[in-house]
C-alpha cells in the first residue's frame, strides 16, 4: 500500500514533471486539468500562417492556414466540406474519419499543413444523394445510422476497412498472420471499433458493410 507521504511525493513529482514538460507556469489548481483549455504559453504570439495544397475529392485545393489548423478544421471551416464531423477533436470517436492516400485517419489528430500534396477523400467524395456510393446506399437500406452524426466517419472507415482486409493488413483479432485474411464478423467489428455510434446502430452497420463486402452479417 502507498502511504500518504508517498502520495504527496508522487503528486509533487507529477507536477514537476508536468511543469517541466510544458516549460512554463504551474497549473492554477493541483486537482485536475484546470479547465477545458489546453496548457499554452503565457505569451501571445503572432499567428503563424502557411500555404498548403492537397487534392480533395479529385480537386486541387490551395489554402493559406494558421499552422495550428487541423485537417478536420481545414475541411470543415475553410473548404466548407462539413461532411466530416467533429465529435471529440481528440481522436476518441472517429466521426472525423477521412481517407488519405488510401488509408483512413482521424482528421482531427493531424495538422492540415502536414498533408502537402496528399490525396484526401471525404464522405462528399464517395457519393452524392443522387449518386450514392454502394456503402452509402447500404447504410440507408440497413438503417445503419440514426442521428447521422457519426455516419460519414463510419462510412469512410467501412470503405477503408474492406481495402485493409483485401491488402492483408492484420488486426487484433486476426487468428493467423500467415494465412490470407478472412472477412469475418469479428474482423469487421474489431476494425470498426474506433468509430463510436452512440445511437447504437452497430448491428445494422455490420449488416450494411457485410452486404457490400458480399458476405452474410
Amino acid at each position: 500500500m502507498q502511504g500518504p507521504s508517498d502520495f504527496e511525493l508522487s503528486r509533487r513529482k507529477l507536477l514537476l514533471g508536468t511543469a517541466a514538460s510544458v516549460a512554463f507556469g504551474a497549473a492554477p489548481t493541483a486537482y485536475a486539468q484546470p479547465s477545458a483549455v489546453p496548457a499554452q504559453a503565457d505569451v501571445a504570439e503572432a499567428v503563424s500562417m502557411s500555404k498548403v495544397s492537397f487534392n480533395v475529392n479529385g480537386s486541387l485545393r490551395e489554402i493559406a492556414l494558421d499552422t495550428r489548423t487541423t485537417l478536420l478544421d481545414a475541411l470543415r471551416e475553410h473548404l466548407h466540406l462539413t461532411g466530416s464531423k467533429k465529435g471529440c477533436d481528440h481522436g476518441q470517436c472517429g466521426a472525423c474519419t477521412v481517407i488519405v492516400g488510401g488509408r483512413r485517419i482521424n482528421s482531427c489528430l493531424t495538422l492540415a499543413v502536414m498533408h502537402q500534396g496528399d490525396s484526401i477523400t471525404t464522405i462528399e467524395g464517395l457519393g452524392t444523394p443522387e449518386h450514392m456510393h454502394p456503402m452509402q446506399a447500404a447504410f440507408v437500406k440497413h438503417d445503419g445510422f440514426q442521428c447521422g452524426y457519426c455516419t460519414p466517419g463510419q462510412i469512410c472507415s467501412a470503405v477503408a476497412v474492406l481495402d485493409e482486409i483485401r491488402a492483408g493488413i492484420p488486426s487484433h483479432v486476426s487468428a493467423d498472420l500467415n494465412a490470407p485474411l478472412q472477412l469475418t464478423n469479428a474482423e469487421l467489428r474489431e476494425r470498426m471499433s474506433g468509430n463510436i455510434c452512440r445511437c447504437g446502430a452497430y448491428s445494422n452497420i455490420a449488416e450494411a458493410i457485410s452486404e457490400v463486402a458480399g458476405r452474410p452479417a
Binding site: T29, L81, G83, D143, S193
Partner: protein, 734 residues
Amino acid sequence: MKFDSPATTNPIDRLKVVGQPFSRIDGPLKTTGTAPYAYERHDVAPNQAYGYVVGAAIGKGRIAGIDLGKAKAAPGVLAIVTAENAGKLGKGRLNTAKLLGGPEIQHYHQAIAVVVADTFEQARAAAALIRVDYAREQGAFDLASLTDKAKPNPITSGPGDTAVGDFAAAFAAAPVRLDARYSTPDEAHAMMEPHATIAAWQGDKLTLWTSNQMIAWNAAEMATILDVPKENVRLDSPFVGGGFGGKLFPRADALLAALGARAAKRPVKVALQRPLMFNNTTHRPATIQRIRIGATADGKITAIGHESWSGDLVGGKADGAVAQTRLLYAGAHRMTATRLATLDLPEGNAMRAPGEATGMMALEIAMDEMAEKLGMDPVQFRILNDTQVDPEKPERPFSQRQLVECLRNGAERFGWNRRNPQPGRVRDGRWLVGMGAAAAFRNNLLTKSAARVRLDGSGIVTVETDMTDIGTGSYTIIAQTAAEMMGVPLERVKVRLGDSAFPVSAGSGGQWGGNNSTAGVYAACVKLREAIAQKLGFNSTEAEFAEGEVRAGNRRVPLTQAAGEAGIAAEDGIEYGDLAKKYQQSTFGAHFVEVGVDAATAEIRVRRMLAVCAAGRILNPKTARSQVIGAMTMGVGAALMEELVVDKRAGFFVNHDLAGYEVPVHADIPHQEMFFLDETDPMSSPMKAKGVAELGICGVAAAVANAVYNATGVRVRDYPITLDKLLERMPDVG
C-alpha cells in the same frame, strides 16, 4: 383536434404507407455528409466568428479574480464575455444551474467565459491565457454519505412517495423475502454531436441555429435568460446529432454564442468542447436503491417496496427510479419512496427513460433474485405476477398490456428453455455461459402537438412543424403520416422540421415524439382534407383521398387540380382529453441476453440479444427497430461500462471525454434481434401508436446482469458490472 374518445377507423388504418418499413427519407443526406448540423451552417450568416468556452476549475466556490488582460491582447480576439460584463441575465425555468457562472461557481466546468476570435485556433489559444483566481469552498460530492440527510422529493411522473395497504406488516409476514440494495452510477448522454450553436443578432432579434430537442421550450427559455421578447428569438434545428435528453434544455453553447455575438457585433459559433461536456452539461444522476419483495411460497407477490436516493444541486430534481414499481407487478401491499440529497456535482437531469432506466436496472435484478429464492423460473415468476390494472388504483385498467405475451414470445424465440437454472454450470471453451431475462416497461406520454400542411399545384404536400428528428426517424414517420392521409406516395411529401417559426410540436423527449407529432400531423391533414373537400363541394366525411385523387361518389378530382395554382393549406394540432387518466398507457417488452464470462479473467462478452416489444402501432418497423436496438446498445453500456467516476475531494467527473467515459463500440455488440408484437392502442391517439425509443433501454442492463449471474454465480448489485467485481468470487477454473 381534441382527442377525448377512443380512436375509431380512420384513413391511417389503410396502412398503405404508415406501418411500412420505408428507409429514412433523410438517409441520402445523412450518409453523404450533406445534412447540415448546427455548427456547419456557413450559409446562414456571413462573417461568423468563433467562440471557445472556458469552464470553472473548481467544484464549488467563487471566482476571487479573473485576469483577461493577456487573452484580450491575443491575436484575433474580438470579445470576451464573462458574468461580470454579460449584463443582467434571467434564470430560465428548465435549468437548475446557471449557464454562465461567476462569481459564484455551482459546479465544475460551469462556463465562466467565452472568448470570441476570428478563428477557432485564435479563440482556443486566447482562452488558455485567461487566469482565474478561485476561492474554493467545501462541497458535498458523495451521495452514499448523504442518504441520511436526503429529503422527500416528487418525481416527474407524480409524487415521490406512495403507499397502498400495509407494506411493513405484509412484508414481515411473507414466507419468502428479499431485501437488497443496488446502486447505479452517474451516466453521460455522450451524444456524438457536441452541443453547438451559431448566433446572429439583427437589431434586437436573435436567431440561433442550434442542436436542440425541444424548440419551443428553448426559444422561450432563451428569451427569458436574455430578457428579450419571446417573439424575438428564433431557433432552427433541422438536424440534431443525438440528444438522449442532453439537448432538452438550453445549454451554454446557445447562451454564450448569443452573448458573444452581441459583444463582437458579429455572428458567433460555439461548440462545447468534448472534454467540457461531461461536467458542463447534465447527466443521469447516480442512485442508491433498496428493494424489498415479499411473496407466498408459490410465488405470488404480497408486498413490494422500492426506495431510491439520488442527489442534485439545490433546486434540482430526484431521479424517478421508483416509477415503474408502482405499475409493473401485482401485489396488494406496496410502497415507494424517493429521497433527494443536495450535491454540488454538475446538474443531474433527464437521460433516456429518466427514472425507469435506473429503476429497472435494480428492480429486474431483484425479480431475478426473488425467483431464485422461490426456486422458480424468473420468466415464469414475472408472468405469475402480471397485472392488467394499475395496482395502486385497481379501477384503472391498462389500455393495452402484453407483458406476458412479450415474455412468452421472447422466451420461445431465444431458446430460454435451454437455460440451466444452476449458475456457473455451462461452459463453452474458456467461457462460462449464462442467460438472463428482464421485463421492459416505460410509460406512454401524451402531449399536444401541432403542424401545418400545404398542398401545392404540383401535388406536393409540405409539412411544417417544430418537431425535431434526433435520429428517431421523425422526418420519415411524419412523411408517412401525411402521405397516408392525403393519398399520395411518400416521394410527394416534403417535411420541414425544427424551426421555431413552425407550429409548436411535442418535440423529442420521453419517447413521446413519434406518437404525438404524427397525431398532430394527422390533425392538420384532417383539416386540409376538409378544406379541399369543401373547395370541391364534396361532403368531407365521404371524400376519399387515394392515389393522388379526391373521390366522392362517382366524382374524382386530381389533387393537383384541387390545389389550384395558389395551393391550399391548413394548420391544426392534437390535444388530449382524459383518456390517459382513465386508462394507464404504457409500453412493454422483454429482454433476453446471453453472455460469456471468461473463466480465468472474468472478461464479459455479450453473445446474443433479443427484445420483444409491444408498443402500440409501429409507424415504421425499420426505424422503430433501430430505436430499440440502439437503446439495447446503450443498455449494454449501462450494464458493463458506463460510469462517470466522481472525484469526491475536488467534486467533478474524472473521466470527462470519450476515451475515459466508455460507451459500447462495434466489438461490444453482437447481432441484435428485435420483434414487435401486433398491437394498436386506440386510447393513445388517432395514430394508435405509442413510444418505443426509451422502452428499449428499460430492463436491458438487468438482463445482462442476470445473465452474468447465471454464467458465474456471482451477483453484482452495483453497476457497472466490471470484471474486478467478479474476479474474487469467480468459480474455480478447471
